[in-house]
Symmetry: C4
Subunit: 269 residues, 4 copies
């Protein structure tokens, strides 16, 4: 008899094996995951490019760098605006799609579309990062590390929500979402370290690669759990799947490293 992957998963396993398996609607999720996935991958590419450029400029010509400071400020302003825009889009999507919450939190004696409200809250915190970005560029008296702190906060909040996101799901689903929560937590940790130790280019690239891992893992979740053709092929209770997904996760990480490295080579060239 095979056992599942952790205390949580194992108990889940025991309970589900005994009781009736909870029906879980999968079609609505696909759209919900593809959007943030694309967003996160673009964000990671953008962050890595900006940080590599900044590092290279700083190393090669001090004067040239000072000249381009205004440019970087303008880029930061743009970044903040885009972040706010993306967050508003995400929040609207989760409210006004047909399966959305339609701004109703409590309906007919029970909570209404709580998973949509979860996603809504996550987008909201990313929106706050964008607002902090914009405020920090426009108001000079604010400490310059504020956006880093807000980013780290937002990531910790996502990790916290993911940790409480998987009630009543099946083993493989839980495992995949817990891994996502773990990456969010680690990215938050790296962002917090950046907040404390400013101007460490490797930490910034590490954060970029972890952000890319978030995006690509979102796509992996989609392809395993919610794509119409594969959904039946995966046995959601088999612990062999856990062992495969463990190394699959590491491969995603390795690929994100290699992409960031290639980006570095491209930018310096």
């Amino acid at each position: 008899m095979k056992t599942s992957h952790g205390c949580r998963g194992r108990l889940q396993y025991v309970i589900l094996a005994e009781g009736p398996q909870g029906f879980h609607n999968v079609t609505g999720h696909f759209k919900g995951h593809a959007l943030p996935a694309t967003f996160l991958i673009i964000l990671s590419l953008w962050w890595s490019t900006r940080n590599i450029l900044k590092y290279v400029c700083k190393k090669q010509k001090q004067t040239f760098y000072l000249g381009s400071k205004a440019l970087f400020h303008r880029l930061e302003l743009l970044e903040g605006t885009v972040l706010v825009g993306m967050a508003l889009t995400g929040m609207a999507v989760h409210q006004f799609i047909p399966e959305g919450a339609h701004l109703t939190l409590f309906k007919e004696g029970q909570w209404n579309h709580l998973l949509n409200w979860h996603h809504f809250t996550m987008y909201f915190f990313f929106g706050l990062v964008g607002v902090a970005d914009i405020l920090c560029v426009t108001i000079r008296s604010l400490p310059s590390s504020l956006p880093k702190l807000m980013l780290s906060n937002a990531l910790f909040v996502e990790a916290f929500i993911f940790h409480n996101h998987t009630h009543g799901w099946k083993m493989v689903e839980i495992f995949m979402h817990q891994l996502l929560g773990l990456v969010f937590f680690l990215t938050g940790l790296v962002a917090f370290m950046e907040f404390l130790l400013q101007n460490n280019v490797l930490l910034e690239l590490l954060r970029s690669s972890l952000t890319m891992l978030q995006g690509s893992w979102f796509f992996q979740i989609d392809s395993v759990l919610y794509s119409p053709s594969w959904a039946l092929a995966w046995k959601l209770m088999d612990s062999d799947n856990i062992m495969f997904l463990t190394i699959c996760f590491c491969w995603h990480y390795a690929v994100s490293f290699i992409i960031i490295g290639a980006n570095y080579a491209f930018v310096t060239w």
Copy 2:
């Protein structure tokens, strides 16, 4: 079949579902929670105002700041006295209200009002912070970061007590108190970082907003668990409630951020 939110909650669930549900007196708690909640919110507003003032003074005029150093010392002395006063009030309340412990630890072969003794101990450690504040201002040879260390210690102790505070309670009660313990732990962590890295204004504001979160979450606990009219409306074993409270907690956090931000705008203006 829905499952509960963690290893602890889930087992709790299994055990309670089988055995007789422990009766839990709720009326006495309301007063016990409203007091520290109000106290913590006032404290967080006061801390944020003081830290913003200090930061702005420092940035604008070095000379003006040096002149106001005596004022800040006097404010710290006042803060210490108020903290000691609040702690003594809290300790007295939990001993001498009708449902209090009346200084008796062991009565008729069993422990007497242990929850009151828990609260008593928590107030005592906050009192120690106040004492450290006063000592540090009056005796100059003491290291100036002592109050930060004592504060971080007090918060870790609260987190530890909260972690062992919820024996035999129901799922939603446990979850809400564990979240409170988590905030205390995180605030303690931030205070410890302040102790190591002095004069980082953002860490101080982060601590203020986490303190405000503690206060507002105390009120949320009251309104969910102990208010006369709502108490019956909440099903304390439903995991949907856990999922709602997760995002509710994040909203409290977002609101505390916004209030601290508004305070910043108000003070600098």
Copy 3:
């Protein structure tokens, strides 16, 4: 129905409630705990006195401090020798008392007195700290922070051993030993921070007070679990006891703080 304090304790509880309760010999432990308890309390008083003296010397007279450097080196040498001596005594006691292991690890097809070997290993690592102390004073080319690193290592090892020390015990026993393991872990963490950030007097005093907490909690364990008269009075499966011990632990901590503070007042005076 009351439930126990954590995942570990709760499962323990369930299993023990079903199976026959394992008989647990208590008389041999009393001597085994009183020795390290006394040792740790003396050590904490000595450490706090030395660190306060060093801090006060440094603050008041730079010249006087330089003159007394030789004295501090001699004291460190003495400290190392005493530590090695205590460790050797402890190791010998656990081997050659009547209930000891008598240097036999495996006897009659099963492990022989593993708990004694556990204590033996703990003393051994404290002995290594003493050796590092002596080496560091005699050989000047060694980095001066070596003893701090060894101390932190020794404490982490103790915490690790305590974590795996309680197989088949009852709930209250496990809880008390886990708390001890927690204090060892925290003391190790503080010692590691001292290793990274040298010359922070408050961290050194925090370590002293945590060491005192270790010692006094050893005595508390003795009085709860192994003293002949009390042993029957404590119901080892009652979760009310856990809730009392939680605050009792905090009181021990508060007392150790106050003693270190009194020591500070005494030394500076």
Copy 4:
């Protein structure tokens, strides 16, 4: 009734005691463990020798050190090449031995030799460290702390894989592999600290001794679980074994400390 060592192990125990005990092929593992074990021990000796040499050179003659900088760069290049070579060997072994995966991930409706793919992934990440070493020496514009970051990453990835490596195994097997995962995690933590705080010789030696502990613990795992003569002698479900292995692990650690210390004495002499 004895209980097992943690939440994971205990549940494992309960489940296995009820269900049929999963058959577990042991002969193929011996070769798989002896290779990395030898590799890690050689690596740790090499690292410690290099770091001690560097430290001593730096302390004694500033000029001599500057002259030998080219030598150290050449050594780093060699180290990178050897790491890549070892990683490629390890990856090939796990694919092309008779029990290997033969580059097939999915065969006959189920995952094919997942444990081999796990080991393959671990070697791959060590290979990345070697690549980073080589790149960092040849391309000067790269930040010099890149190899440390990659090493810490590789170690965290190993720890993560080990944590999900033991599905369906027996208690002693799980415990031994979890300890290995713990050492990988701690070594990763130390490497990350080295990345943040450069040129701390004690952290480098600590990493060396933890690496040696990894190697020697690999050998211990072999001798306990997979050697033909001992395999039957160990009862894999007995919690006394856990208690012995706990201190055995500490002894391995102490021995690795003493070997690194002897190496220090030898090199300085």
